[in-house]
Amino acid sequence: MKIEERPKVEKLLTNPVKRNHQFDTVEVKVSPPWKDAVKQLRKNRFAVAGFIIIVFFVFLGLLAPLLTPYSYEEQNLANRLLAPSADHWFGTDDLGRDIFTRIAYGARISLQVGLFAVSGALVFGTILGIVAGYFGRWIDTIISRTFDMLLAFPSILLAIAVVAILGASLENALIAIAIINIPVFGRLVRSRVISLREEEYIMAAKAQGMKNGRILLHHILPNSMAPIIVQSTLGFGTAILDAAALGFLGLGAQPPMPEWGKMLADSRNFIQLAPWTLIAPGISIMLVVLGFNLIGDGLRDAIDPKMKS
């Protein structure tokens, strides 16, 4: 049962050290993956629209003192419930304050709430999710069951409970919103890490002798970024919505802060008499949330984990 000797494969490379390029010698332009994502995003008209909306509100908030001569808290009872006019673009509320001014200053509050609530949830959620996903076993059990417990409540109910314990203020509303978002990020990161842990390049990193910390920071975290970024953008929108809801219930920003949800709550008695008092903050909330959702959806499409080229 002898096996035929196969012809020995011709040696392609005779001198292994000094060797001419055997592959393409044409320089290929190399762009890091995130640049491709940005390019992809710019092609998406909805995402661009969302981006424009958000930029508009950011500038509205930043430039508020320049855009309007009025103060957002000074009452002028002579000008109560004036309809929109050249002097008061969006009209005035029941205490004679200019609604446009309050919307502009309110943009600051809403965007700050979104930023801080999302960053807080992002940091803690990511850390917990990575630890749970990478180390597994009992650590995972403890963290995941805690997440399940938090997610078992409707999120706004949980936020109300947290504010009820801490006291009603914008800061506490912000903390409450961050807390209810932690398990959202945590679960997302955990599932991503669990699937990444089985990847061969993670085993390769281990085989090279890398420490756990390095594997987590340089290999697992960068590869889990895509869903985190998308979730952060979408989370921005819901955080603003939650803050408005808490404000509406009187559990968030306290008067005279021009918080949009609070503005809605304060003017709901005048819905027939002066509908503009509700329309302006309502549309503002809607637009900001819409803007973030459009960007988030666009990002989800653009950041494809399997990068194309």
């Binding site: 002898k2 494969v9 050290v17 390049y201 390769a204 085989a207 090279q208 002798g209």
Partner: protein, 322 residues
Amino acid sequence: MQKPLLEVNGLKKYFDIRGGVLGKKVGEVKAVDDVTFTVKEGEILGIVGESGCGKSTTGKSILRLIEPTDGEVKFEGRDITAVTQEEMRKLRRDMQIIFQDPYASLNPRHTIEKVISEPLLIHGMKSVKERKERVRELLEVVGLSDYHASRYPHQFSGGQRQRIGIARALANNPKLIICDEPVSALDVSVQSQILNLMEELRDQFNLTYIFIAHDLSVVKHISDRVGVMYLGRMVELADKDNLYDDPKHPYTRALLSAVPLPDPDVKKERIILKGDVPSPANPPTGCTFHTRCPNVMDICKTARPQFNQIDENHAVACHLYN
């Protein structure tokens, strides 16, 4: 006689099967069951076997990428199954692995520069300039070029990626490289390029390989000695020529008879095995091959055959040769 670089003694890896609500252990898969062999310095030991026979698990258990259940792995006389994780981490610069799938074994978000320089960094090459220099050198050694360093893995072909994987494994001048089916994901023409490259590198850097594959002709081409595995056990281990010219174990004979010959006029007897490979969760008693063996005897069903040296450099686990 060269001194052994690696001694594997009674290596076992059992994976637990868990079931039920509480995740109770209901059984175990004996992926690697009492495998013993040595690898001499500078040689290439081929390991062949069907899918699922435990070749890769053996390779990964030796490196403790999968923690072995039992057994001893001696690298340069030191039992590495007993060392701490931190010591193991340092030992890894001497023991490297090349993976089967060149598409999965490179981090898609790292440039080639980073992929190859990372092992240098973690084993103490702090200077950026030195690392750059070494990466350039390594790329050249594996037949790639300087300018490839700034690219991402998805911009390479399979063969090129495998070259990158080899460069990464070579980075710290290892002594032993476990090649876990390094060419089975590649086209045949590219396979021979990679095999030639690996042979050259062996000579150039005095490397020792454990070459795992399921392609008998690939193993024959590259190995000095060949081990045949079946259902988690080593059934035959011999010098390449001995094994291919005079296989002893009935399983090895059947395997070799299945290798296609390039000449259509040559007729040879093929040994057709009946049935499937039994489940490693419930392996047959005695010799695990007795359910399919053409030479089965009564003793095969009860007693597990010892791995016996029947000749110089030829060992076989079969009752026919006791």
